[in-house]
Structures are given as C-alpha cells and as structure tokens.
Symmetry: C2
Subunit: 193 residues, 2 copies
Amino acid sequence: MAANKNKTSYVILGLLNEENLSGYEIKKIVDLRLSFFWNESFGQIYPEIKRLASEGLIAVLEEPKNGSGKQSKKYEITEQGKAELQEWLKAPVEKELIRFEILLKLYFSNASSSRIMLEHIKQFQLNHQRQQLLFDQFEAQLKQDIDVHSNHRQILMVLSFGQKLWKSYAEWCEESIKLLENAVAGQGDDVHE
Amino acid sequence: MAANKNKTSYVILGLLNEENLSGYEIKKIVDLRLSFFWNESFGQIYPEIKRLASEGLIAVLEEPKNGSGKQSKKYEITEQGKAELQEWLKAPVEKELIRFEILLKLYFSNASSSRIMLEHIKQFQLNHQRQQLLFDQFEAQLKQDIDVHSNHRQILMVLSFGQKLWKSYAEWCEESIKLLENAVAGQGDDVHE
DNA sequence: ACCGGCATGTAAATGGTTACATGATTAT
DNA sequence: ATAATCATGTAACCATTTACATGCCGGT
C-alpha cells in the first residue's frame, strides 16, 4: 500500500500480472520488448524479486522437476501484488528520463570535428536500423497472435510510440549526415583531427 | 588523458570551452538548453567542478569583487581540459538512455484502466507542449544572434533533433487520445477504476 | 570432454537525486 | 523587514551497472 517504490518492482509485477515467469525470463522480455524505452539488469531484478516475495506481493511457484524441467524458479503475482500494481498505474506519471550522449557531443563539437561527428551519426543510424529490424519482427508476430494478450490494444499503442521515435531518428540521421557531408566536403582536406 | 570519466565532467568542459561560467550558470544553461536530452543536478556539478579543478582541467577565475560583483566563482577551461574534451568527442558514442514511465504504465494497463491512461497521456501532452514553447523561444533567439556561438551549425542540428522528437510525441498523443476516447466511450459507465 | 547458453545470485563501485545548511544580493 | 532568487556546497540515500561466482543442461 506504500506510495512510490522503485520502478523495477512494477516491471516485475506488471509482467507477472500476465503470466508466471522466472527472473531470467523477465529480463529476456524486457530486453526484447521494452528495451526501446526501458531497461533492467539482473543486478536489479533478482534482489527486487527477493524483496517482493518477502513482502508477499509475489509468490514462488514450485516447479515440478519432472521431464526436461530446468531449475528455474517461477513466480506468480499475489492479490496484494495486483493491488499494488493498480495503485501505481493510477499514480501520476513521472517525467521521462532521456540522455543522448550523441547530442551532447554534437552540441560541443565544432567545424573541425565534422568528420568525427559524421562517423558518430552513421554509427547511431546503423544501430537504430538494426534495432528496428528486431522490433519489426516482434510487432509482426504480435499482430499475428493478437488477443493472446488481454492488453494488445495498449501494447500496440506503445509500439506505435516506438515506430514514431525511430522514424524521427531516421529522418534526423539522414538530414544531419547530408549537412555534415557538405561541411566536410566544403572544408576540403586541410583540417584534420 | 584517461579514457572514460563520468559525463558530468564533459558537460562542464564542453560549456566552459565556449565561455567562462560559474557552477550555477552551468546548471542554468543545462536546464534551459540541454534539458530535452540531458540533465544535471547541483549535487553532481559542484563536486565535479572541484575535481576538475584539482586535476588542472579547469581553473578558477578570480572575479574582481568591484561594482555589483556577485560572489560567484567563475571557471575557465585549461589547455589540458581542452585536450580531454577533444578526446571524449572522438571516443565512440555510448548508447542513449531512455526511460518512459508512461509507456511502462500503458504496457501494463488493460481495458479497465483506459480512463486513467487517457488522463496520463493528456498530462504528458500538456507537459510537452509547455516545454516546447520554452524551447521554441530559445530556438528563435538563437537563430537571431547566429554566429555568436562558433558551433551554431551543430547546435541547430541538436535543436532539429528536439523538434522531431516533440513532433512525434505530439502525433502519438493525438493518435492515442483518440483511440482511448473511443475505448472509454465504447465501454460506457459500467466499468470503473 | 568441452563450450555456449540457461539460470540464479552477490558485492563493489559508480552514478545521481534529494534534502539540508548557509549566506549574499535584489526586489517589494 | 522580508521574501525570492542567486549561489555554493555537503551528506545521505537510492538506483544502476559491472564484475564475479556458481552450477546445470544440451549439443558436438
């Protein structure tokens, strides 16, 4: 019933609210599906699971060790946990946290570093193109087995946010690369470093 | 000459590379100009200034205490500091850090929380509209006194990134609000909380 | 027999926010 | 006078990453 805990706990509660999962699986899902707007590390997840269990918001599911049972501990959310999750959903949204080192560098760079910035932006572009490819696969898959998740409508909204983000990254990269290529060409070879 | 320090130091070095500033002024500039992609707190800035000074990357400018002299300590970047800044500019860009709590909530919400999510998104929309207004002012001002900064071309690229970001936020808000308003209307009044 | 991926966890270090303390200057 | 803002700084706390330790399981 407490007001504001750390966010990791809500990621765990939120995912367990849909299906029973192990810590490892939680990490995988976050990496695969949420990583364009959220990240968690094992160093946060495992201790937090422990804490949530000790407070009775989640409970260990004793996996039957038959068949090809891996030795993973699965957890399920408790009624108390569901209540806590709902409370957090209602609470005001905290401001997003954003840190683009690439913009910092660009801001502090000058004409003589155009060539370097060009490389940075190209790398940035490549990274996001790759990431978007993976993301597109996930989206296609989700649109196939729609209604598997009770909240597919919401998930599609989140994905739409991602698509818009990437589209603006892509546009910006193209635009900036053109500008910088002109700048570099204009300067000729006399400037280095 | 060390490879990778914390980012706060480069924010300080980067800003001091353009003009001499006090810690307080650095904070103000970050808030005003960089806050859409970067933030710093006093608790980071002051200790970091101290460290940079002790390592000789920046130096205190003893302000003459005449006139309406405020008792602020201004700093200037040293040659060593400039070298360090240039090295960081060349180093590969680290992956951006992004955390949108609003997307987390939306992802974990379900049909019954549409009304709440609608409010969250409207608030998000309002916040960003306000922020963009301030930003537009800064951009207009910058475009007026162009060439005051040696790196105005780079700054305009950074601003363009911001504009694209905000445009995608705005589009997403509109789109999502419509979707959720339909959902809420469709459900009628029977569902609450 | 060995390697890669699955799986869980802890400890240390770092990064970052928030709250507090202090005092000067400026505007009302 | 007094409140707001300018200005510097520290300490405590909380969040996060990274490195490490350990062991299982499946494939080659």
